[in-house]
């Protein structure tokens, strides 16, 4: 299990290669990469990501540990950036390995759902004509319901 919270950029492809190589005996590898999207009008200058040092790592570790108990997984990778990002930058990725694709897929979706709403990150969009905190979406909170 590898949980990384960092300001620096990362390369999801390289991370996937490294993660996959760690256990060549595994059959299925799923990855999710999140990328900073510009606004429809192309007005996003910076996506600023604030987090709660200490709690962030603890929350992500707890979410990953829960996934390890729910599915038959080989390994989990979580990388999440904070600081100032530009449109097109990779914000975060999760990856899972398992003997079976169903476990790898479900666990990756679980990690994403919990990371979205239970890990202490907040996004602020600095636009050409203003700035605002991104509001949490009801559907992200609702998505947790399917894992009860």
């Amino acid at each position: 299990m590898r949980i990384v919270v960092q300001e620096a950029g990362f390369d999801a492809g390289q991370e996937l290669t490294r993660f996959s190589a760690a256990d060549p005996g595994i059959g299925a590898i799923v990855s999710f990469t999140g990328v900073v999207r510009d606004t429809a009008e192309g007005t996003l200058d910076v996506m600023q990501i604030e987090h709660y040092p200490g709690m962030t790592e603890a929350a992500l570790t707890k979410i990953a540990q829960e996934a390890m108990t729910r599915w038959a997984l080989g390994d989990i990778l979580v990388i999440h950036r904070f600081g100032r990002l530009a449109p097109g930058d990779q914000i975060m990725m999760v990856a899972t390995t398992s003997a079976h694709r169903k476990d790898a897929f479900e666990a990756a979706e679980y990690l994403m759902d919990y990371l979205k709403s239970r890990a202490p990150f907040w996004k602020k969009e600095i636009l050409r004509d203003g700035a605002h905190w991104v509001a949490a979406r009801d559907e992200d909170e609702d998505a947790l319901g399917r894992w009860d």
Binding site: H51, S117, A135
Partner: protein, 81 residues
């Protein structure tokens, strides 16, 4: 006790962290104390349904006890990913 603020709560109150001496028994009691301090606190805590709270880095409900707590953090719903 250390009290931390994040995102727009931090911006509204005007600082990321402060040391507060309190005998509040619960988070709600602490919120009431803060609200009574100054307008910026009253504004930040106007609608608790728009806020989340963590005690010692664990998400809790607003009626959670504060006995023994070292760190309380207030912030809006999280938007990671």
């Amino acid at each position: 006790m250390d009290v931390l603020y994040f995102a727009w709560v931090r911006e509204r109150i005007g600082l990321p962290k402060e040391r507060i001496d309190t005998s509040a028994a619960t988070v709600t009691a602490l919120v009431d104390e803060l609200r009574a301090r100054e307008e910026r606190y009253a504004a930040a805590f106007a609608d608790l349904s728009a806020l989340r709270v963590a005690v010692d880095q664990e998400l809790v409900d607003f009626d959670a006890p504060l006995a023994g707590a070292r760190e309380v953090a207030f912030f809006p719903p999280m938007t990671g990913g």
